[in-house]
Amino acid sequence: MTALLLDGARVSYGHAEILAGIDLSAEPGEVVALLGPSGSGKTTLLFAVAGFVPLSTGRIAVAGRDVSGPGVHEPPERRDVAFVFQSYALWPHLDALETVAFPLRAAGRDPDAAREEAGRLLRAVGMAGLEGRRPAEMSGGQQQRVGLARALARHAAVYLFDEPTAHLDAATRRAVQAEVAARRADTGAAAVYATHDADEALAVAGRVALIRDGRLVQVGSPAEAYEQPVDRWAAELTGPVSVLEIEVRGGIAVVGSEPSTLAEPFPDDGHHVVAVRPDWAHLGGPLTAVAVESWFRGPHTDVRLDTPGGAIVVRSPGRVMLRPGERVNWTLRRVWPLEA
């Protein structure tokens, strides 16, 4: 049974349309990343699923039961959904243990059992010994862990994450991501994970949904989103990309007047505007260009080249020393056509 189904879900305030007919589904155990810039409607979509905002038209079903739709608007507490807030939304008057026990108490568990279970969940998210802390006495990462434990205590069919790592440092962010993945494997619940960070979206999700101005632009596996973006906006949202103008003749890319054989055959001959990820090209080979700039990034070096087809960033393993203005050779292995 589908854990979450959105069918033409639309949200508007007055004349402003925040969500324009969203179709999306998530199977049990699946993580769907909702990737979009701020203001694109990610939070509103999650709010609609959680029941914080009503739909104007369309339908939302959770675990096979309609919760939003024509004549239906189940309140948040009657949806099989748990929410992790970007701002943590921890109650300042409750300590960590009481906070995590809250959903268990609301579900009818007796106080002692609820506290015991809450303590177990807090230990599971690495908050052992901090059960008595109030939000004001916690770091951002600790607050987010408590928020996460509170959501887990709901034992819901669908978990909604609203940029849960937006305010966290890199190390805490990785820890929270790992916990999300582990929890999901444990519970078999579906999750929708809103973020504006492409790395995070591709790393945590089984499927990625790109959202722009309240519309889903592309839904697919992380590999599809990265390798086959539907347009230039989608390409730039999902990772570093260069845009080149090239000509294709019999599966061979021609940049300026120099040919480079593509690793995968390209069907249409002719002029094309193409997306090139940094790892789809490398230094050395049949093409010539002028080095403009290079950035050493530890495991690899990004080099920006001026080519007859436009500027391109090429990723090379290790450390590469290039002087600006130096002539270099390079190879184009792979391209993806962008609609004009």
């Binding site: 305030y13 007055g14 959680a50 029941g51 914080f52 905002v53 309140p75 948040p76 507490e77 949806r79 959904v81 748990a82 929410f83 807030f85 701002s87 939304a89 921890l90 109650w91 300042p92 008057h93 809250f102 959903p103 609301a106 579900a107 109030r134 939000p135 004001a136 509170r150 205590a153 709901r154």
Partner: protein, 537 residues
């Protein structure tokens, strides 16, 4: 050069500011209150406890119970309004937020006068429908009008708490944790709102008990004394020396009641975590609140707008008793109000209000600056307490302390104004100073600017909106001030509000109305657009 330490020049500046603030606090608050308590002690030792027997106890009881009743009513009104603007939302919310504050901008005694002209015998509703509000002149009227007047204080505190402390998000978190609407309210929203309700209630109680204008208009004619009207009648209208010792004892009693209320509220809310500043989502569900919004506007029209309109009409009518129809309109009352001796008091009022606003804003900023770190908490509490000090008690204290040298001078009144309104300006200054990131100042200093240049070119421009608002607020409140002015004025130092009160006590209703309108309307019309611009975005 050592880092992390301020230079000698900075320290001197800080030290001088600190000395100035301390000296000013002692002059306008410390010394007078000390004198009040010392004189009270002497009076009580002298058998001044008889003050309570000769009618004082009744006045104290009346003040306390009408204050408590008005507080209960104001809590309901203010909380309902806050819920409407911060939770229900919808179109017109911004206008309603400003509208909820309007009653505060009309001086209390003008509001009370307006109510008698709107809903009392011979008033608008009487003329139009033969309806009057029974008991308007008397305790019931005092409770209702006080509640309407102080409800904005509750509204302010509760609305701020609903927007920041009890953010909607926290309620949603409870709902999506499985709690129903009632459980979410009981277990999350209500506990988070408690400090605001207690604090707002304390403010409303203190403001009601301290109010002089409302019982002066609605209590004195009914023979219903409160502490403030009793002090006024004993001090301004009686030459009996025994009356003066009663004034002192009553003033001290009023002071103790007000401080007890604030202190109890402070103690009750201390155990709560401070509010965490956070962006609140604007639910903005258009249309949902329209019915309630209409009800709120109706309430504001009934309690604030119609009384003022009634006063305007009374001022325009030839004589009391005639219906306020255009045929009976005349400008004679305004002409009479504007003729004669009005210009002296009006000029004095403007001068006093202008000086008081300027000095209070400067002192408020100075206090905020020196109390930013370290002793900040104690200083801030002290500043809040001065605002809670009843005007009547403050006036008696200032009279005791500075009267021997400054009797019948404007300086005496100015000292009282500063004591009362300093806290008001300090709040605004401290709020905006608190939001002024220290890094902005550090950036100025590391760009090569000295402390004064940073103050002039960075701090003041950033604070200007808040300081302008503070200045305007103090100016308006000082212009409307009656409680202290009516106790401290002498020959040649009457303010416009005092003249209006005196004309009212003489019973000339139409001229009183004209004066009240002249006192209120221009100031409010000037301030409202500016206040709206300075409101939070």
């Amino acid at each position: 050069m050592r880092t992390g330490r301020s230079s000698a020049g900075d320290r001197r500046l800080k030290g001088a500011t600190f000395a100035l603030v301390a000296a000013a606090l002692l002059t306008v608050v410390g010394f007078p209150l000390f004198d009040l308590l010392r004189t009270t002690g002497e009076a009580l030792a002298d058998g001044g406890a008889s003050s309570y027997r000769s009618g004082g106890a009744i006045a104290v009881a009346n003040s306390v119970w009408t204050g408590a009743a008005a507080t209960a009513l104001a809590l309901a009104i203010g909380t309902g309004g806050a819920w409407l603007t911060e939770r229900v939302g919808g179109r017109g919310t911004k206008a309603l937020r400003a509208g909820m504050m309007l009653p505060l901008l009309v001086p209390p005694f003008v509001t009370a006068l307006g109510w008698t002209r709107a809903f009392g015998p011979g008033g608008l509703s009487d003329d139009a429908f033969g309806l009057t509000l029974p008991g308007l002149v008397g305790p019931l009227g005092i409770v209702v009008v006080s509640a309407a007047h102080v409800a904005p204080l509750v509204y302010l505190v509760v609305a701020a708490a609903l927007a920041s402390r009890a953010r909607p998000e926290l309620e949603w978190a409870a709902r999506s944790s499985g709690a129903g609407p009632w459980e979410a309210f009981r277990r999350v929203t209500l506990p988070l709102l408690t400090p605001a309700l207690v604090g707002g209630g304390a403010l409303a109680f203190v403001a009601s008990v301290n109010s002089f204008g409302i019982p002066a208009v609605l209590g004195i004619p009914a023979g219903f004394p409160t502490i403030t009207t009793r002090i006024y009648q004993d001090l301004a209208r009686s030459a009996d020396p025994a009356a003066f010792s009663r004034v002192v004892v009553l003033a001290a009693t009023l002071l103790v009641i007000a401080l007890l209320a604030v202190g109890a509220a402070d103690a009750a809310t201390r155990r709560f975590e401070p509010a965490r500043a956070g962006a609140s989502h604007e639910p903005g569900r258009a249309g949902r609140g329209s019915r309630w919004t209409a009800a709120a506007w109706t309430y504001l029209a009934l309690t604030a707008a119609i009384p003022v309109v009634a006063l305007v009409l009374t001022g325009l009518t030839k004589a009391v008793g005639l219906p306020a129809t255009p045929g009976n309109w005349t400008l004679a009352n305004f002409a009479e109000a504007l003729g004669g001796g009005i210009w002296g008091p009006a000029g004095r009022s403007l001068l006093l209000a202008g000086i008081a606003a300027t000095l209070a804003t400067g002192l408020g900023l100075a206090l905020a600056a020196v109390s930013r770190r370290g002793v900040a908490k104690g200083m801030a509490t002290a500043a809040t307490l001065t605002f809670a000090i009843p005007g009547s008690a403050l006036a008696v204290a200032v009279l005791l302390a500075w009267g021997p040298w400054l009797r019948d001078t404007l300086l005496l009144i100015l000292l009282a104004y500063l004591a009362k309104f300093w806290a008001l300006a300090h709040r605004a200054a401290a709020g905006s100073l608190g939001s002024l990131d220290r890094d902005l100042i550090r950036a100025g200093r590391s760009s090569g600017a000295g402390p004064f240049a940073v103050l002039r070119r960075i701090v003041v421009p950033i604070l200007r909106p808040a300081l302008t608002a503070a200045w305007l607020l103090v100016f308006l409140f000082a212009l409307h001030e009656l409680t202290m002015s009516s106790l401290l004025y002498g020959p040649g130092t009457e303010t416009l509000a005092v003249v209006t009160l005196n004309v009212q006590q003489l019973g000339d209703l139409t001229v009183t109305a004209a004066l009240a309108v002249l006192l209120t309307v221009p100031g409010v019309l000037a301030v409202v657009p500016l206040m709206r611009r300075e409101r939070r975005p």
